[in-house]
């Protein structure tokens, strides 16, 4: 892992919302071509951290570096260029309700205006098939279940063919079988397409299943990071408490989680 360097480098990142000091010096390096899971309790600032990685939020101090280049601020013209390397799947799917499923998936490509209509239709069909929603192009987001919306959001992210894909709780609210499918889809993105993947998740099953690196965020800082095996053996009481439930369900499998 990490053969081609660091994709995202977060350095001493601080973020306040008014008086709420959410991120308190986050340091995190995400190697290119790997899957990194960020875990932590709700309200810990996982989504806020993820939004800094695509420049949707700007740091109050510290910085975010993408392949060694500092993330441009939100007024810079270079920001769009950097963002083209990214796609993000939002926690609440964030589909445009006025557009149907096919239009949502093809939105980025249509607005870019580089590909022909037929080409875009083909990509939309391909990505929808990939997430198990073949033939649902004409349905409206409002008619879909939460899990289906999430899969449309994943298809929309994949349609842009980005280098780095950020997932904000991709399996939350999905049934176990669908969650398993999404997990293997994400693992596949890394293994076959060599994408850099960052997953925010509550679901320790999927973290252990797909991540090369697991980081735990607590009180605005990364308190533990390491391979799944190392993470599991962590003696940090916060980490132990967080994964104790997972361990109880799965037996204490310190080693060999991946197989």
């Amino acid at each position: 892992m990490g053969t081609n360097g660091i994709a995202i480098d977060v350095r001493q990142l601080h973020k306040w919302f008014r008086n709420n000091h959410v991120l308190r010096g986050v340091d995190l390096k995400i190697p290119a071509g790997t899957a990194t899971a960020i875990v932590g309790g709700s309200g810990a600032g996982k989504s806020v951290l993820l939004k800094h990685m695509v420049g949707l939020l700007s740091p109050d101090s510290g910085g975010v570096y993408i392949f060694n280049q500092e993330m441009p601020n939100k007024y810079s013209r270079r920001l769009e260029e950097v963002r083209r390397r990214f796609a993000m799947v939002f926690q609440g799917s964030a589909l445009l309700n006025s557009l149907n499923v096919g239009e949502n998936v093809g939105l980025g490509l249509v607005e870019q205006g580089r590909l022909s209509r037929e080409e875009i239709d083909r990509i939309v069909r391909e990505k929808l098939t990939l997430v198990g929603l073949k033939g649902k192009e004409l349905e409206l987001p409002g008619e879909l279940s939460g899990g289906m919306r999430k899969r449309v959001a994943i298809a929309r992210a994949l349609a842009m063919d980005p280098e780095i894909i950020l997932f904000d709780e991709p399996t939350t609210g999905l049934d176990p079988i669908m969650a398993q499918n999404i997990d293997s889809l994400i693992a596949d993105l890394r293994d076959r397409l060599k994408k850099t993947v960052v997953i925010v998740t509550h679901d320790m099953d999927s973290a252990f299943e797909i991540a090369d690196l697991i980081c735990m965020i607590y009180e605005g800082k990364i308190v533990e990071q390491g391979s799944p095996e190392a993470f599991c053996r962590s003696t940090n009481p916060i980490v132990e408490q967080f994964i104790s439930r997972f361990k109880r369900h799965n037996g204490d499998r310190g080693q060999g989680i991946r197989d």
Partner: protein, 264 residues
């Protein structure tokens, strides 16, 4: 005593905070306006978004605009007609109603209707998109929300408001003619001759210029309030109310000062 000072402190801190917020909003709105204007150069590639907005503004406000215009025309003719009758000047009704509509009532009434019917809807729509992260999603797809959402609404407002104003002026004057004939026995021909004698192109033009500026105010305020909404779905209602109030105040204040300026 000490406690009291603290209260005073807090009052000033709050006041300062509110003032800062206000000036920040004004600054952001000006930037949004500049960006929307600059993005108008790509209008032809975005007609698929601009034209539906124009159609929507027209279709949504036409019924209420017709109703308002005709009744205001009725009332205006009735009220002034009674006064004019005392001096036997009923035939001047045409001039009074048409000039009143063209200079003041047409633009201001139309602005009020559009704020309630269109501005509120724009804020509610965009605010909903903001709180459900749809705006963020647009950004990550390299789509500029100002081009995708604001510019089409901006253009639709500044083009459709004058059109609506012309329509409202016309319907109001027509309403006046009906009352003039029914109550004051002024024949249609005499009424419209009177309109033609007194209503100048300048009256119309000034009303239209006002309405274009109202369109700028309404679209920018509504879009800005929508884009800056954060938090949960509960914030959408609040943002909509704030946007409507701010649009009203801005329209009234601008209207007063520009009218005064033109009188000098």
């Amino acid at each position: 005593m000490k406690k009291k000072t603290k209260k005073v402190d807090r009052f000033f801190i709050l006041l300062g905070q509110k003032l800062l917020d206000f000036f920040q909003s004004v600054g952001e709105m000006l930037l949004l306006l500049v960006e929307a204007v600059l993005l108008c150069k790509v209008v032809f590639r975005n007609l698929d978004k601009v034209l539906p907005q124009m159609g929507k503004i027209g279709a949504d406000s036409l019924p209420i605009a017709s109703l308002t215009a005709i009744f205001v025309g009725f009332v205006l003719a009735l009220q002034t007609g009674v006064a004019l009758q005392q001096f036997g000047q009923e035939e001047d009704l045409g001039a009074i109603v048409s000039i009143g509509m063209a200079r003041e009532l047409g633009p201001v009434l139309t602005a009020i209707l559009v704020i309630g019917r269109i501005g509120a809807a724009i804020t509610a729509e965009i605010a909903t998109m903001s709180v459900s992260e749809e705006i963020d999603a647009l950004r990550t797809l390299s789509i500029n929300p100002v081009r995708y959402l604001v510019m089409p609404r901006f253009l639709a407002c500044i083009t459709m408001l004058p059109v609506l104003v012309i329509y409202v002026d016309f319907i109001g004057t027509l309403g006046g003619a009906a009352v003039a004939k029914a109550y004051f026995k002024v024949p249609f021909l005499a009424y419209f001759d009177n309109v033609a004698d007194y209503l100048t192109f300048e009256d119309m033009a000034k009303g239209l210029v006002k309405s274009v500026v109202f369109g700028v105010i309404i679209s920018i305020v509504s879009c800005h309030k929508g884009l800056t909404t954060t938090g949960g779905p509960g914030e959408v209602g609040l943002a909509t109310t704030n946007s409507v109030v701010l649009s009203f105040v801005s329209v009234y204040v601008f209207n007063y000062f520009v009218t005064r300026l033109w009188l000098e």
